[in-house]
Amino acid sequence: MDPQVLMQTLGKGVPTSWYLALSAVLFTIGVAGFILRRNIITVFMCIELMLNAVNLSFIAFAHEHRQVSGHLFTFFVMVVAAAEAAVGLAIILTVFKNRSTLNIDEIDSLKN
């Protein structure tokens, strides 16, 4: 990679791929949190993080293709995220009420 070319390019703007790479990084962090964290609320936040990462990709693509569709997808994702948060948190409340724990390792009634 030629540093000169790089500088020349960066002078004009940031490559789309950087945004995408950022999106990938954020997504992976979200997945890592999902896998590694035990607190159910945190896990839920990690899901939001992943959604945000995806949204970033959408916006980046929208810019790339000069289309507004990506924005609309993002919009819809947000709507879904809001709905999901409402229901999800309600579920968490109920689960906590019944089991008095937020540790997802102890919530394993899906087994069998």
Partner: protein, 170 residues
């Protein structure tokens, strides 16, 4: 300037995201997540998505995260215990994550080269189709049906939340 803002907010976003994963206390996590979202809003703005950037701040960082914080407070959630028994997450988790990151990065950089003449660039002001007017037009013409469906979705979500919450009263 583009590069500077990008790098700055990208750094903040990643740092906050890492913080979300690493913080022990849920409140800290939630606040870190707010940071990520705010910085993402700036990035959206850089990409010409004014409307979405606003919504990101108002709905996401505002409403949804408040909901989270509210629940955390309500449940009085403390630091999470390290008690866990997912051996599979320990063994397979990190390699899988690394592989995932590698693949995603590889794919994106293959289709959108980082540098060079082919690389498409993002320059603030290049794209101005993300204003409220354009979004509104598209939303009420081309995307009318999905839009209406979302209203039903939200209605159902509200109902669901009420039903779930009502059980507590019983």
């Amino acid at each position: 300037m583009d590069l500077f803002f990008f790098l700055l907010f990208a750094f903040i976003a990643v740092a906050c995201a890492v913080s979300v994963v690493l913080q022990k206390h849920p409140i800290s996590c939630a606040l870190s997540l707010v940071g990520t979202m705010a910085s993402l809003a700036v990035l959206y703005l850089l990409l010409g998505a004014e409307f979405i950037a606003m919504v990101q701040v108002i709905v996401y960082a505002g409403a949804i995260m408040v909901l989270f914080v509210f629940v955390i407070m309500l449940l009085n959630a403390g630091e999470e215990s390290s008690k866990g028994r997912s051996w599979i997450a320990k063994i397979a988790g990190l390699p899988a994550l690394a592989a995932l990151l590698g693949i995603l990065g590889y794919a994106m950089l293959t289709f959108y080269p980082m540098v060079g003449p082919k690389a498409s660039l993002v320059h603030f002001g290049d794209f101005t189709g993300g204003g409220a007017k354009e979004i509104g037009t598209a939303l009420f013409t081309e995307y009318l049906l999905p839009f209406e469906v979302t209203s039903i979705l939200i209605l159902i979500a509200i109902l669901g939340a009420i039903v779930l919450a009502r059980k507590e009263i019983d």
